[in-house]
Symmetry: C2
Amino acid sequence: MIVVLAGGVGSARFLQGLIRIRHQEEITVISNTGDDFQFYGLHISPDIDIVMYTLAGMVDEEKGWGFREDTFHCQETLSKLGLESWFKLGDRDLATHIYRTNQLRSGLKLSQITSNLADSMGLRIKILPMTDDRVETRILTEQDNIHFEEYMVKRQMRDDVRSVEFSGIKEAKPGPGVIEAIQEAEAIIVAPSNPIVSIGPILAVEGVREKLKASKARVVAVSPIVQGSPIKGPADKLMRSTGVEVSAFGVAQLYHDFLHGFILDELDLEQKARIEGMGLSVATTNTIMKSIEDKERLAERSLNILQS
Amino acid sequence: MIVVLAGGVGSARFLQGLIRIRHQEEITVISNTGDDFQFYGLHISPDIDIVMYTLAGMVDEEKGWGFREDTFHCQETLSKLGLESWFKLGDRDLATHIYRTNQLRSGLKLSQITSNLADSMGLRIKILPMTDDRVETRILTEQDNIHFEEYMVKRQMRDDVRSVEFSGIKEAKPGPGVIEAIQEAEAIIVAPSNPIVSIGPILAVEGVREKLKASKARVVAVSPIVQGSPIKGPADKLMRSTGVEVSAFGVAQLYHDFLHGFILDELDLEQKARIEGMGLSVATTNTIMKSIEDKERLAERSLNILQS
């Protein structure tokens, strides 16, 4: 079993490559839920959804979110009612959130609901929420304490970030199967997503980091930073705010206590020696996933370094 | 001020006529909420919605519910997730229910939310839910106790009805403005809707029937029964099950304690004398509202009998 710690878009793209070279049944994704939030009273799980939609071939790849060719009739009507619409929800996409919210209210756990959703999309990969408890990634700016999605989507990452908090993380128990998956994994991959707000919350769930350190499986991380910038999203601002060097090296530092291998972009070759200096095996390749071939190659590199 | 006790489709059509001859600002609708129910965890108010959509010119007149030219992308997706879809909800229509549910959860009352919804649709007519409390019209069949919408829409009125219950009605307080509207009305019209399940719940709310009897305004009812059959819906079955004669006379009997006038269909002329025998003024006209002219004429007849 290959276990992948995953955030949103970058992780979803990486997984698209991985399922081309491994059976879905052999892969377990542990998904960040710190981005989960309520919008219109509906429970949205942005990271779980982007992974599901992407792997099911339903995602709008151009936008990077939502369903391909979706309509927005419901949200357009909600806007006329005076509700905010900074988080875009297409009509087909809405079904996921209505379903999830309704099932949560009737007492099901996020993990069960996620499994049902993945099934209905024809996925055979296992997607485990990091926790069934409520964790919220909060961004503390100069003036405010706001949810990560509000910071990223509504405010377009304009605010200066003072710090990041995972509200509820102390009380959160790992979701069903999470610890077992790490313990029984043959290989563990940290997908190329934001190390602070996408991978960070997973690592902060009780027991996860310890079990990663103790795991007999080799652990490899794919750098989401190329030439000092994230491929997508606010990783640079968030890393800087938490005092981490904005580089592949900085990412490796965040994970080094449980890491064996590291996939570095070929444009960052000059960082190879520094990262190897931490005792890690380093492989380089193109990590900017444009074509499906890019994704497959990156997945292959990650598996190879695990076996080497 | 003209007060109209209203149910669904029949009442909405009647009101379409009334707003052509009176300013919306002069009309207060007291709306049945016994049909309200939860679907996908969303709070649906079928009678309030059909009145709003119809008066705003947005209703799908052919179907008799929902928005004109709506799409069903969300519900189609929910069906694929295995959820029931016997109650059809278009994408634009869904916005109403998501809005209402979200506002209820944040502590607003149904009356305030209804007022906001009506405003947003450009309506100036006042629509008052009969109560802000939860009342559910339940249909007791041989085997089951089911919600009225389930009986009507899901089971297509196939079951034999033993009795009808308004669950929660004893604890329900009249909605804000309901009693005042009846007390201050110049004229009161009982619109042509199902007397058992559409008008019945309104009359059963604490104080409503007494205030109707005590009101200085004249009260007229428009018959929803023509030649022994309802124009639409299951009124015949429900009247029969509660031991009421399925006829305009039967309807007049249900209301006679607070009624002054009665609008009878011209096809039911032979019932005029019987109804007059109850001490009511009776006018006859075509009550089957097909064209907008039909609706306007019916509204005019109702106002005339109130003034005579």
